[in-house]
Subunit: 355 residues, 2 copies
Amino acid sequence: MKLNPNDNLVIMAGGVGSRFWPMSTTECPKQFIDVFGTGRTFIQMTYDRFRGIIAPENVWVVTSQRYADIVAEQLPDIPRGNILLEPCRRNTAPCIAYVSWRIKAKNPKANLVITPSDHLVTDVIEFQRVISSALNFTAETDAIVTLGMNPTRPETGYGYIQADLQEPSLRNREIFRVDSFKEKPDYQTAVKYLKSKEFFWNSGIFIWNVGTIVNSLRIYEPEVSRIFEDLLPVYGTDKEQAAIDKHFPECPSISIDYAVMERADEIFVFPADFGWSDVGTWGSLHTLAEKDAQGNNVIGTDVKLYETRDCVVHVTEEKRVVVQGLEGYIVAEKDNTLLICKLEEEQRIKEFSAE
Amino acid sequence: MKLNPNDNLVIMAGGVGSRFWPMSTTECPKQFIDVFGTGRTFIQMTYDRFRGIIAPENVWVVTSQRYADIVAEQLPDIPRGNILLEPCRRNTAPCIAYVSWRIKAKNPKANLVITPSDHLVTDVIEFQRVISSALNFTAETDAIVTLGMNPTRPETGYGYIQADLQEPSLRNREIFRVDSFKEKPDYQTAVKYLKSKEFFWNSGIFIWNVGTIVNSLRIYEPEVSRIFEDLLPVYGTDKEQAAIDKHFPECPSISIDYAVMERADEIFVFPADFGWSDVGTWGSLHTLAEKDAQGNNVIGTDVKLYETRDCVVHVTEEKRVVVQGLEGYIVAEKDNTLLICKLEEEQRIKEFSAE
């Protein structure tokens, strides 16, 4: 398959994954960890699933300065200059604004997929079909496309996208206009969403051409836009990082959903089904990962379990562990930190991990 | 108080303390660990409790060659030459034979206390009174004296000494002849022992003069005796270790109880009550050690417990630990090994720790 030189991939990798403490730490957050014990980290799996549809030189990563070396080490095939470094965290809108103008400076005809770096996709064939179809759509339109996941349960941990399923796009019959974006619902609401069939999980994966996002940002976030537009002369030069370090912090902290999605008109959703999860919690990892006959998901090379069921045991390679008599617990050990906690109490991990 | 130059202390420190795994390992067994977090290890506490009744130059330690440096580091006040090194493990009889002839070569009038290195005594004042009284007794007699602990519960984890309480010794009214030694009993038998009032826990602490033990060994273990008697010319010389390395392994593996106690005639017991425990298990440690309001005994400087009760949490100093929702567990971490196990299953630790 010949790759379209306009197609670019943007991997957002600035998160800190605090719900996976202590495996995920600010030194090495979730996206850089091999959570499933497959030999590939989340960001590597993210990169891998675009293999064959995006050229490595068109893959961009936006991350924090402290993770520059980890990204370069884990994704050696992408140009070092494609790793864009934020001097501070400002949520997704400034991140996307920066990379969009940066790519536009190189190729004004660029067509972009924006993806989080720490999600799981199990059906990569279907994923690639959906991405390619969406890229074809945005190459020809000024549409902002989100990928909506067919919900399989009344999940309260995700945001939802409500689609207008009456009128598919004429250019792509799988793509629909968005009626509204919904915050994480309570359980009753999630059940309603599930039944109505017109709500989809917001995957955080977006497809658009660079002109579309740049114009949208100009309209809805003119101050942010001005910052990155003013830097057009320095992109790709050795003055880029210093200029970003100086001006990036001037941006407000604002999500792309709030800045653009919930305001713009030409918003579409591509409902899809490719085995997606944000693997946001130890519990979701336990659900998704391979388990032994007793329901234990074990990462570690010297772990012995006795009378232990439905546990997640994640320890570093060299660690020797014996667990006896636990049911429904997380046992996680990394560097110098050990967590033992009931899976059902995992929402308190942020509290536990506070220094 | 003037110290009697004939009084010697022998600390047996060759054990491996496998029931305290992973805190106790073959690299650093229980006797060298500060299990209570007091700043003093078991062997140091053992040494400390003889302070003022035995001169440091009369303190001897018999241990394995691999622990020579640990002993010298933990007991810097005793002469390095008093640390006797076994090239292999042969139980207590060869250990005691070696040190007895070694001491006899230096002082044929020596009077000895033999003690394990990994027990706890809480009432050191009473302990010193008992030891001094027993030493006075054996200085004047050929008696073999054992210390019997007043049992406070039907313990099945200790051996028992049955005393003939009808006839106290004329020289010391607290000392009685031994009727019999009993192996660790089952629970029903232990209850009977407790009721009868004539059974005492075998503390493994012995007092005798060096002539008495040497003669007993000559009678009951002539082969072992010959080995160490033949080495009389080399004791205290730079040929001692090589000779021991060569001949010590020729000894059979045999306990002093079996070799002498259960065979000799002049065996006495000194029933006593000085808050003794062999701290043989995590459970006994949990019983003895300081606990917080939720019944948790914690050693570690950065341990946070949530909804956790009746647990023993022992981790190395620099370890950060969060435990949520455990009741009645051991959480122990040392070097690169983590154990999580119900306290009630601790008898299986040997199984768990097998490589």
